[in-house]
Structure formats: C-alpha cells, structure tokens
C-alpha cells in the first residue's frame, strides 16, 4: 500500500510516517473526518483510538486525532479545531468511540458534536468541571479537595428488577472499577460499567517527559503488558527521531513480547479454571507462571521484564546459556500445558461452565469492534503480528499463525489462549534459532532530529493491539503522547457478553476477557 493508492481510495493526500508501524497520516477538515470514518466503517476497518491536544504555541488551537486500522495499515487523521467548534461525533459509526470521546472531553474540554452520551467518564467529581488537565494553562500539578459525584447510571425499572452495585474495590486481588448490575432473579438484564478509578493523569504526565525517557512511564500503563507498551512507545519514539534499531533488537523484542504473552495466558488459564471451581487449575498454572517469570528475572533482571526495551533497542541480550535455558523451559512448559489442556478439555464440570457462557457472536463483535485475543475468539481475524508486521520486524519473517474460534464464549477464549501459548512457544524457538547476531541497541540521539516530528507505535500485546501516537517538539520534548489499550474497545462488549447470563457467572466471564483497568483509565 502506498500513498498514491490511498489518495485514490480516500481522495486525500496521506503522508507515510517514518518508522516500523505502517502508518499514514493526514490533516483533515470536518467533512473529511466524517467521510473517511464512513468509508472505513463500510470497508470493515476498525477505529483504534481518539485523543486530542492543545497546541503549545497557539493556545486557541486544538487538534483531535483518530487512528484507524484497515487491511495492512493504520491511518492517523488529525482535525484542527477550537473550544467552540468541537468535532463531529464518531460514535454513530463506531460504538467504541463513546467512552473515548467522553474521556477527550474530560481531559481537554473539547466536545464531540452530536454525541448522545455526555456524562463524565474520567472526572468523577474530584476536580472542578472546568479543569481540563491537558490544557496548556494547567501544569497538571494542581490539587483539589473535592467529594466524588453521584454518577447517573441508567436505571432499569420493572417488576422484580433490582440492582447489585459492585466496586470500585472488588473482592479479589484485582484492579478497581464499578459494575452496576440490574437483575431479575439471577439473570442479568443490564450491566453498566464505570471506570476511570485508576486514572493517574498519564497523558499530561507525558508532556513533562522527554522523548528519550517516556518509555518508563509507558511501561507502567498496564503492568501486565509492560513489554508491549514499552515496545509500542519506543517504536513511536524511534519513528519520531528517525532512529533505526539493529536487526537483533527486533528479534529480541519479539522474544520478550512472546514471553509476556505466555506468562499472562498461563496466569489467566489458572484463574479462569478457578472461577469455574477448579482450584487445581489455579495452582497448576500459577506454578508454571511462577517458573516462567523466574526465568525472566534470571535472564533479564526483572520478573515482568520492565524497562528492558528502551529507545534505540534493549538493555538486555541473550547468550548461549540463556538460549539453552529458554529452550529447556519451553520444552517443559509445552508438555505441562498439553497435559493440563487435556484435563481441562475432559473435565465435564469445567466445560459445563465454559461452553455457551458469556457469548459474543461474530456479528456483535464486528459491530462493537471487539479486538485482540477476545476478538479472535469471536471470529475477528485481526492480529498485528500477522497483518501489520513491518518488513523490518521479526514478525514479517516468522509467519505467525493466528489462533481463531467462532463460538465467542468462555470456552472459545480459553481455546484461543491454549492455541496462542503453543504458537508463542513455536515462535520463541524460531526466534532463538534465527535471531541474527550483532548489537541489541543503537544510540538514541534526541538532538539529531531538526524539525518537529511525530511517530506511531503498533504492537500486538497479549490482550490485543496497543497503539501509541507521539508528537514531539524540536527540543526533544513530548508535546503529546497517547497510549491506547485494546480494553477501550473490549470493556463495552463485556456489558453485552453478560446479558442473559446469571450473576455468579460474571467473575468467570470477566476473567475470560481479563481487561485492563489501568490501561484504559490512563
């Protein structure tokens, strides 16, 4: 795909951005903003993210960005606007836009015109209604002493309908969020989520970082995906600085990403078994996960591999002993997981809880934009490793076999996880055999680049694709950096997946998605 072909399809001059992510960018007016959204929707593309910024030099000017994924590429549209004008609503085209637009308003104070849901999303009343942290007039360090608002949940009325309010503090050792169930008997009539509890002001915080040191923050947006985030951030930073990482770094990053995927899938498979009443599954898988992360610590100095990926490459490499240890571990884990899979498959009580529970049909998944691992369990054939792998990346040569399922229930999401563990083990072996020799990092010189540039990152984390859109100024300071978690798309789908199921199945269904709170709250 080149810019000429895009010009033909969209009648708009797109400019290819430098770097690994296959991104084409264009500045558009309101008309094109909507027209291109419609075209992408009609062609079966996905809305990835919506975010905004206020210009540093001319504070009357704002811009709203939208990122789309279609075929083998990403499109990054930027719409200049101001406080009064706002921007056209995209939620009529892409339902996943609703929460993103509400977040844009809470952070920047720019409204989506024509949107139906204007309720606050990130601002829970703990700071003033006219305090928009992403505006230049605020440092982000202001402090307020406010009481939380009462959130206007949609009320379901009728004979015998009652509500169960859960959270923000949940019963287990998990992240905080509020779930409001409207139920009759045991059946769920409606679930409404309120998130934002872990909002830490990440977008604003990035603007106080230099491009060269934002990777640590990116690696702490969602700890379970620290490799995916730091890679996506570094990909964007390297693009903005026109920095090319050495070939070995591409392969090492892929190795870390696959290790992160397996680690999380192991933990999830145990927890899902546990939520269906099989404590045996939890201890077995948690044991494997512990072995897995201990080797991370031994090889890379950190159990979750935080801060191993840095702009320019990595801080870690693998010697022959490390390769041997990894291969031996893969062999062992592969056998153990195969045994456990057989036990899961043959366990009637477990399958009874898994099959047909929390089903998301392929049609609904397409309509709502369900993505990543959960999307693949509902027939959505997207995997950035196989579809948008840049020619320079290891994935372009690895031929990733995407795991898919059509049932869209808990059983399907379990199936996809098992398949992905097997595939990732295959990939790790392939990586270790084929990884080129050479350095794992190149100097990252943030002074080299003369003009203001931007870059994007796009990495298939274990949960789904992670996008980073970064803009910098001439001094190497971050002007705007937005990191997007696939949980934005998938949380609203969970509200549908629970419908008609019974309340006691919610923890199981929720765990089968295992979405990030911190990743979407930012």
């Amino acid at each position: 795909m080149n810019s000429d072909r895009l010009l033909e399809i969209y009648s708009l001059p797109f400019e290819p951005l430098p770097g690994d992510a296959p991104v084409f960018a264009a500045d558009v007016g309101e008309e094109d903003w909507l027209r291109i959204g419609q075209t992408i929707r009609a062609e079966g593309g996905l809305l990835v993210s919506i975010w905004g910024k206020q210009e540093k030099t001319d504070i009357g000017r704002y811009s709203i960005s939208a990122a789309y994924c279609i075929d083998k590429k990403l499109l990054w549209l930027r719409l200049p606007t101001n406080e009064q004008t706002g921007y056209p609503d995209l939620s009529a085209l892409f339902p996943s836009a609703v929460r993103m637009q509400r977040a844009v308003f809470d952070l920047l104070g720019i409204p989506a015109n024509g949107a139906e849901d204007y309720r606050q999303w990130i601002n829970h009343g703990m700071w003033p209604k006219d305090y928009f942290p992403l505006r230049q007039q605020f440092s982000g360090l202001e402090s307020f002493d406010f009481e939380p608002d009462c959130y206007p949940f949609v009320l379901v009325e009728g004979d015998g309908v009652h509500e169960i309010a859960v959270g923000p503090i949940h019963a287990g050792i998990i992240e905080p969020g509020h779930f409001r169930f409207s139920i009759v008997g045991e059946k769920v009539l409606r679930l409404e989520q309120l998130l934002g509890y872990t909002h830490k002001g990440v977008d604003k915080l990035f603007t106080r970082h230099r491009v060269s040191d934002g990777y640590r923050l990116a690696g702490r947006i969602s700890g379970d995906s620290t490799v995916a985030y730091s890679w996506a951030y570094c990909m964007a930073a390297e693009a903005a600085m026109s920095c090319r990482i050495p070939p070995r770094a591409q392969w090492m990053r892929a190795l870390l990403l696959e290790r992160e995927r397996i680690g999380n899938h192991l933990g999830d498979l145990g927890a899902i078994g546990n939520d269906a009443g099989l404590a045996f599954g939890l201890s077995q898988f948690m044991l494997l996960r512990e072995e897995w992360v201990r080797l991370n610590a031994r090889l890379f100095g950190h159990r979750l591999m935080m801060d191993c990926i840095v702009p320019g490459g990595l801080t870690v490499d693998l010697d022959t002993q490390g390769i041997d240890l990894t291969l031996a571990q893969c062999k062992r884990i592969e056998v153990e997981v195969a045994t456990l899979r057989e036990i899961y498959d043959e366990h009637a009580g477990l399958q009874d809880r898994f099959i047909s529970t929390g089903r998301v049909s392929a049609e609904l998944a397409l309509e709502l934009g369900l993505c990543g691992m959960a999307g693949r369990a509902s027939s959505q054939p997207w995997d950035a490793r196989s579809h948008q792998a840049p020619p320079s990346s290891a994935y372009a040569q690895l031929d990733v076999r995407m795991a898919m399922h059509q049932d869209g229930d808990v059983a399907a999401r379990v199936h996809v996880r098992f398949e992905e563990i097997a595939e990732s083990i295959r990939l790790i072996r392939d990586i270790l055999h084929r990884m080129p020799a050479g350095p794992v990092a190149t100097p990252f010189d943030e002074n080299e680049s003369d003009s203001g540039h931007r870059g994007a990152g796009w990495v298939e984390g274990w949960r789904g694709p992670i996008f980073v859109g970064l803009e910098k100024d001439m001094n190497g300071e971050i002007v705007s950096c937005h990191c997007h978690d696939p949980s934005w798309q998938n949380w609203p789908v969970l509200q549908h997946a629970i419908l008609g199921n019974i309340v006691p199945d919610f923890p199981l269904i929720n765990k089968s998605f295992n979405l990030s709170y911190s990743g979407q709250d930012l």
Binding site: H124, M126, W127, Y131, P133, F138, G140, L141, E142, S143, F144, E147, P148, P168, I169, G172, I173, I174, E175, P176, Y197, T198, H199, K200, G201, V202, K204, L205, R216, L217, R220, I221, S222, G223, D224, T226, G267, F280, L282, S283, Q284, M286, L287, R289, E290, V293, A297, R303, L304, M306, T339, L340, E342, I343, E346, H347, S516, Y517, S518, D521
Partner: protein, 170 residues
C-alpha cells in the same frame, strides 16, 4: 479424573523454603506464625486494595498464593471484605478517584488496622508522583505501618513487608 490425579502426583509439592541458608525459612516460618498468633490471636486476614496501581503489583501479590510461596500455609488469608481484615495491603499512588473508596475501606477495617504500602507508587507516588489525579502515596491518605519499595516488589519482599508489619505492633 485419572489424568488430574496423575498430574497432582506428578507435580508433587513444590513449596519452597524462603531465601537464606541453614534452613532459615523454617525458623522464619515458625517465627511468623508465633508473631501472628501473638498479635492477633489467630490467622492474619488481609484486604488488598488497588488504589490505582498499573496492576504489576497485583500480579506479584497474586503470586503469593501460588504453591511456591504458599501464603495460606503460613496462616495468612486474603479476604473479600475489609470488615474481615486485620490489614490493608495497598498498591498504587492513590488516585484521586480511589481516595474516597480507600478511606471507606480503612474505616471498615477491624483493629489493629495495619496498613502495608506495596510498591514505589504506594510508597511515595513513584513515577506518577502527586498531581491533579494522584495523592502521591498511601501515607498522604492513611497512616502506613510498613512501606515496601520495588517496581513491583518481588513476592518474597511483599511477604517480608506483611511480616514486618505484624511484628512492628508487637
């Protein structure tokens, strides 16, 4: 079912001793149980509260339940309600949006209301610091007994933190 039992027998009991030589764990283990019994007269119950962490600390706290650390074997249990808890284990820089819920959980916690802050963010705000959205650490909201550094701290350090808190009030 046969496969399941076979797997249990095959894996055996992997629960390990804590770091240190000369069977230090056995001593420590007995010490722990003695401390817990002395302070609380029964098992230690913990309510974990994520006050805005990135979820890395949660992963490591969850790991304490795996057969290697076997935290329940030490008489320490994670409970669903603060009313059943002797201790709050708090992660995250305490976001403004979680401050109210955290205070409520603390008020509901039974005495001795031990508070252990887990991770850099909980210690002093960490990379997120203090801002419009964050309080800058647990101690700016609650009295903290023990603060465990690390990003995230390894499970063994989290366990140490819990045990340290049990002994400070002794």
């Amino acid at each position: 079912m046969w496969q399941l039992f076979k797997q249990i027998a095959h894996v055996g009991i992997p629960t390990e001793a804590a770091p240190g030589s000369n069977d230090a764990w056995r001593t420590e283990r007995e010490q722990i149980q003695k401390e817990i019994l002395r302070v609380l007269g029964r098992a230690l119950c913990i309510r974990e509260v994520d006050a805005g962490s990135c979820n890395a600390c949660e992963l490591e706290i969850q790991a304490l339940g795996n057969p290697y650390y076997n935290i329940e074997g030490l008489g320490i249990k994670f409970v669903a309600s603060p009313r059943h808890a002797d201790m709050l284990l708090v992660t995250g820089p305490v976001t403004k949006n979680m401050e109210y819920a955290l205070r409520q959980a603390y008020d509901a916690t039974s005495h001795p209301k031990l508070v252990v802050a887990i991770g850099e963010c909980a210690c002093d705000g960490g990379i997120f610091g203090k801002s419009y959205a964050t309080c800058g650490g647990v101690s700016s909201v609650l009295p903290v007994d023990v603060a465990v550094p690390g990003c995230p701290p390894a499970p063994i350090d989290i366990l140490r933190g819990i045990l340290t808190a049990v002994s400070v009030r002794a």
